[in-house]
């Protein structure tokens, strides 16, 4: 949205363009011709459309069509059932242009005043022997508003977080198995018995079973244990291999 502001000869929007065109007509904005202004504006925008991306001038086109509508109503005899007389609409537009013009000049006027830290200065003295510094913490409404938005955004983000539960890593399972075989050396043991079953959560239980099974395969591959299973889905037994000397 912001990019197109710069695309029509530096005008920030249609009102600015209208104001500039109006000022070319008359010194006093109260006496400008809306009919003439409508033509000037339409011509200007028409010419610009040829060189500018159409979507970029959408705002300008809205005003252009409205001005064309207003112009046609001003030229034709007024119907009685119209809600707002065309003259009033034209007058409103004039008043709006006047107001905008006033505010632009008021703004320039304000900014042309002496400004603190640019044209006049505070005492630069920071310390003084008999001045006691008393600190109070301060917060502006602006700080408050900015932060509640911050918190709110964070809260929303948090809702999208995946609920990751604790899982048992394969590394942890390997460590477990090794520790177990230090105690029980020459027995076939059901894998299930080695898994600590303190956990009641089925998700965590499954995680433990899966990683201990993977860990047992890993240890078998390394030649540290043997694995035995009599039939599919039957219990898995593991036994530490005798250390060859």
């Amino acid at each position: 949205m912001n990019d197109f502001l710069l695309n029509i000869d530096g005008y920030e929007g249609p009102m600015e363009l209208l104001l500039d065109l109006a000022k070319k007509q008359e010194v006093d904005l109260k006496h400008i011709s809306i009919l003439e202004l409508a033509d000037q504006y339409s011509n200007y925008v028409k010419n610009k459309i040829k060189t500018t991306n159409l979507t970029l001038v959408a705002d300008y086109l809205v005003i252009a069509s409205w001005l064309t509508y207003l112009k046609s109503r001003l030229l034709l005899p007024e119907k009685k059932n119209e809600e707002i007389p065309a003259e009033t609409l034209a007058q409103n537009l004039k008043e709006q242009l006047i107001k905008l013009d006033e505010m632009r000049r008021a703004g320039v006027k304000i900014l042309s005043r002496p400004q603190l830290d640019k044209d006049f200065f505070k005492n630069g003295l920071g310390k003084n022997t008999f001045v006691e510094n008393k600190y109070t913490f301060d917060c502006t409404l602006y700080d408050l508003l900015r932060n509640i938005v911050d918190v709110d955004t964070r809260k929303k983000l948090k809702n999208f977080k995946l609920a990751l539960k604790k899982v048992c890593s394969v590394e942890e399972a390997i460590k477990n198995l090794k520790k177990f075989f230090e105690l029980k050396k020459d027995e076939w043991l059901p894998l299930e018995s080695i898994i600590k079953n303190k956990e009641t959560d089925t998700f965590i239980k499954k995680s433990y079973t899966a990683s201990h099974f993977t860990a047992s395969l890993e240890l078998a591959k390394e030649g540290l244990i043997n694995i035995r299973q009599h039939a599919p889905f039957a219990p898995i037994y593991i036994k530490k291999k005798a250390v060859k000397k």
Partner: protein, 179 residues
């Protein structure tokens, strides 16, 4: 703390000097005898410094020393100057200053365009505008106004010191004619 008018003047002078921020009349009152008229003393002090390199300056009921605006051309003190305000920012500030309390919708109506993200933000960040409560119309929209910091920044004692719209219009026409 029993002291005469002359000492009181000196005390006020010292306090105003020692505080880089404007000092509230309430705080000054604590340091001068109740028998003396603070307002009068402050006016006297203001007169003493009229036409000097530093002036006594006030925003509403807060007072302080500031270098005289006329010194601007001679002083080349580089302070961190903030970035120039955009055209949209200047216009928005003017609308808020002149039509306060004013809703965002009303500002947008005058400019016939949306206030872009950040325009109000910049004015807020400088501490020049603030929320002024809700309008008692349907929808209860929030309204904006200028702050004391705005007055202080632009060397205004109060909003009445801003030129009236009538004055601005006369100014504009004379500028055009002369130009």
């Amino acid at each position: 703390m029993t002291h005469d008018k002359n000492t009181a003047l000196k005390v006020i002078e010292a306090i105003l000097f020692a505080n880089s921020d404007l000092v509230n009349e309430k705080d000054l009152l604590k340091n001068i005898p109740k028998s003396l008229n603070l307002k009068k003393l402050l006016e006297e002090l203001r007169n003493t410094y009229k036409g000097r390199g530093i002036n006594i300056y006030n925003v509403k009921n807060k007072w302080g020393f500031r270098t005289a605006p006329s010194m601007a051309n001679y002083l080349k003190i580089e302070k961190n100057l903030k970035r120039k305000l955009s055209k949209a920012g200047v216009e928005t500030l003017a609308i808020i200053a002149y039509y306060q309390p004013v809703t965002k919708g009303e500002i947008e109506k005058v400019r016939a365009r949306h206030i872009s993200q950040g325009t109000l933000d910049i004015l807020l960040e400088r501490g020049w505008i603030e929320l002024k409560g809700r309008r008692k119309t349907p929808g209860k929209p929030l309204t904006w106004g200028t702050t004391d910091k705005f007055l202080e920044h632009f060397n205004l004692a109060d909003l009445k010191e801003l030129p009236s719209i009538k004055e601005i219009n006369q100014l504009g026409i004379s500028e055009k004619k002369s130009g």
